[in-house]
Amino acid sequence: MTTQVTAASASREHRPQVRRRTPHRGAIAALVAPFGVLFALFYLLPIGYAVYQSLLVVERDGTYGEAREVFGGLTQYALVFQNEAFWQSMGRMLLFGIVQVPVMLGLALLFALLLDSSLVKGRRFFRLAFFVPYAVPGVIAAIMWGNLLSPNLSPFKALTRNVDLLGADLVLWSIANVVTWVFVGYNMLIIYSSLLAIPAEIYEAARIDGAGQLRIAWSIKIPLVRPAIVMTAVFSIIGTLQLLAEPQVFQSFSSAVTSNYTPNMTVYATAAIPNTNLAAAISVVLALVTFVLSFSFLRFTQRKAQS
């Protein structure tokens, strides 16, 4: 087995030396070009522009003086790091993520395993039923939950009048509930499709060895869908740091959601001033934090997988 692999990889390494030129160059370029152009236009260019904007400061004379944009180095970044509310919101999102992401992915995994097991009847129905909330736009979901949780309009007044689910203490978890409701089905589907890709022979072998359903789920299914779980976790970390629509909607239901409740809301509010330079700097910092967090998570899980 080992020798075979090395042989194959060795021959792969040798091939380019034998044939110096890549064939079909033009075809490859033509096929990659649409992606390349769109990627540059809608991804690299905006990022480059945001970075450029974040390095400028405005100068003007008098109360209504004309604004001139001049190079200001890291001035805007200094303002970002002094912005207490922004870092508070970052902390709030970390807390949110530490609780919400494991709960959501735990539920998604559980539902996926149930759908995949032979125990459940009506598999198709449940697969659709769990996925339907994802088809509801986030804003609509937030409005619906906002009404369900508000003290006087909720159909569950006995609960909402006594427990202030939109108050300063609990509103973060009410938002977490909306996000979970929307995204459990989506994550479940990713994990479920990865479960379907596991070859039946492995189950057969496990059954011959005497493993029951629980044992198969724990020792075979979960380790094999690990990559899918890691991927959904990375998506969720990114989604958490970029939370915008749900808290924005909850602002009108709850007095506890301020205009800089999440990092993205701060960007939004700053852009509305309009102070595009500062908003750009905040976006860049947010992107870097997101990048660092998701990559450290990937590194962490990879190292764990190796050990």
Partner: protein, 438 residues
């Protein structure tokens, strides 16, 4: 890998060059030139007035050479201002835009408004407008940065039936209003709902009390959100909050409508356009409401605050300021347009003649047949002139609202919210090099 880096770098560099070319466009204020175009002109007009299409159609039928295309969007702070700022930066703003009085300094600071003082017809119309509305668009300068459209003089909406039944006198001063609030609370209701997010309503209270939030001496802005008058007004409302005399439902929600519709809340000190909000939000209470002058800070005073009101402004980048100004004048001064605007969206005119429109003399069924606009016509004349708005009102509103929300939930006070709003506003100005006097 190396290839990717080169590609990324090339893209980055080219984006920087592109960006460098585009920056600076649209940041200059046009010199006050106002010459008619040679041929037919098409103007773009962005606004959020419901039913505006029908009003513009009247103009388009009569003026084949100056055609106006209307786009409607969300209200200003709800997104349209953001669009305007982006369009101005990109150099493709509509010729005309609806801009509320409190946002005019913001747009002028960003270089977004065309000075119309070079247009003879505009200058000739000056005396047609209620004085304070004109000073809202001139900003104490020689320039004219918009044509006043409507105004929002404030008065007291109250549940006549409930007051009569409980034997409570209609309050004429804010002291009486508090006394009435205690009686209403004893009846199980709330005298009003204190909105934590309508900071412009609160500004209207400060305005009525003779306070200022901003000053501008030409060299620097002064920020006075936490001035004595402003804090006095805040302390008054804080007292009502502390003693549970006002409800604190989030404004403009179903919860809020429900509070008025169910009779939980008895009054609202609001602008003239609020007549519509009550009628649509609390339909079950038809016929039970009446309007009285707003409570006064000192007995016998006759001061009114203002909440809302817009102008029609010509935005930077317009090629046809002359035609745009001509249309804006027709829209906001002619009797046919004002009547149509009032019919379509209950707009309350900013012109002196407009206050006498036949449509504004009639009794309103929802208010038990009372000719409510008479009360507002008086208030319109009593609005304290020269209230100054700051250059970053969107930010000021949202920061003060954050503080008011905490105060309503018992963390902090309204006065503290003004203090922190003051500091955050100063920070926001300094971040954009807008001079502030400390």
């Amino acid at each position: 890998m190396k290839h990717i880096t080169t590609v990324a770098l090339t893209a980055l560099v080219s984006s920087l060059t592109l960006a460098a070319c585009s920056s600076g466009a649209g940041s200059t204020e046009a010199a006050p030139e106002c010459a008619p175009a040679d041929g037919p002109v098409t103007l773009e007009f962005t606004t959020w007035i419901p039913g505006i299409e029908d009003v513009v159609a009247i103009w388009n039928d009569a003026n084949p050479d100056i055609q106006v295309e209307v786009q409607t969007g969300p209200n200003g702070n709800g997104g349209t201002y953001q669009n305007f700022f982006n369009q101005i930066e990109a150099g493709n703003a509509p010729d005309l835009g609806q801009i509320e009085y409190d946002a005019i300094p913001n747009f002028r600071v960003q270089g977004g408004l065309v000075d119309l003082s070079g247009c003879e017809e505009v200058m000739a119309a000056k005396d047609d407008f209620v004085d304070w509305t004109w000073s809202q668009v001139t900003l104490g300068s020689e320039g004219v940065y918009g044509i006043p459209q409507d105004s929002g003089p404030m008065a007291l909406f109250y549940r006549k039936d409930l007051f009569e039944k409980a034997g409570i006198e209609v309050p004429t001063t804010w002291d009486e209003y508090r006394a009435a609030a205690e009686k209403v609370r004893a009846e199980g209701g709330y005298i009003t709902n204190f909105s934590q997010t309508d900071i412009n309503q609160f500004a209207g209270f400060v305005w009525q009390a003779g306070g200022q939030w901003f000053g501008n001496d030409g060299d620097a802005w002064s920020v006075e959100l936490a001035s004595d008058t402003s804090v006095d007004v805040a302390d008054y409302w804080q007292g009502l909050l502390d003693d549970d005399l006002v409800a604190t439902h989030p404004a403009w929600t179903d919860e809020w409508n429900n509070a008025y519709n169910s009779g939980e809340v008895w009054t609202w000190v609001s602008a003239v356009w609020g007549a519509n909000s009550i009628a649509s939000g609390a339909p079950d209470t038809a016929g039970s409401w009446a309007v009285a002058p707003a409570p006064q800070w000192n007995e016998g005073d006759e001061a009114a605050g203002n909440w809302g009101g817009s102008s029609t402004a010509v935005l930077t980048g317009s090629d046809h300021p002359y035609e745009a100004a001509k249309f804006a004048l027709w829209l906001n001064t002619s009797e046919e347009a004002l009547t149509a605007l009032n019919a379509a969206a209950n707009l309350y005119p900013a012109t002196k003649a407009g206050l006498e429109l036949p449509a504004l003399k009639e009794g309103v069924d929802f208010y038990g047949g009372q000719a409510i606009y008479d009360v507002f016509a008086d208030a319109a004349q009593q609005v304290v002139p020269d209230f100054t708005w700051g250059p970053t009102m969107t930010q000021t509103y949202s920061d003060v609202a954050d503080g008011f929300k905490s105060a309503a939930t018992g963390a902090g006070t309204l006065a503290e919210a003004l203090e922190s709003g003051q500091q955050k506003t100063i920070d926001a100005l300094e971040a954009q090099s807008i001079p502030v006097a400390e």
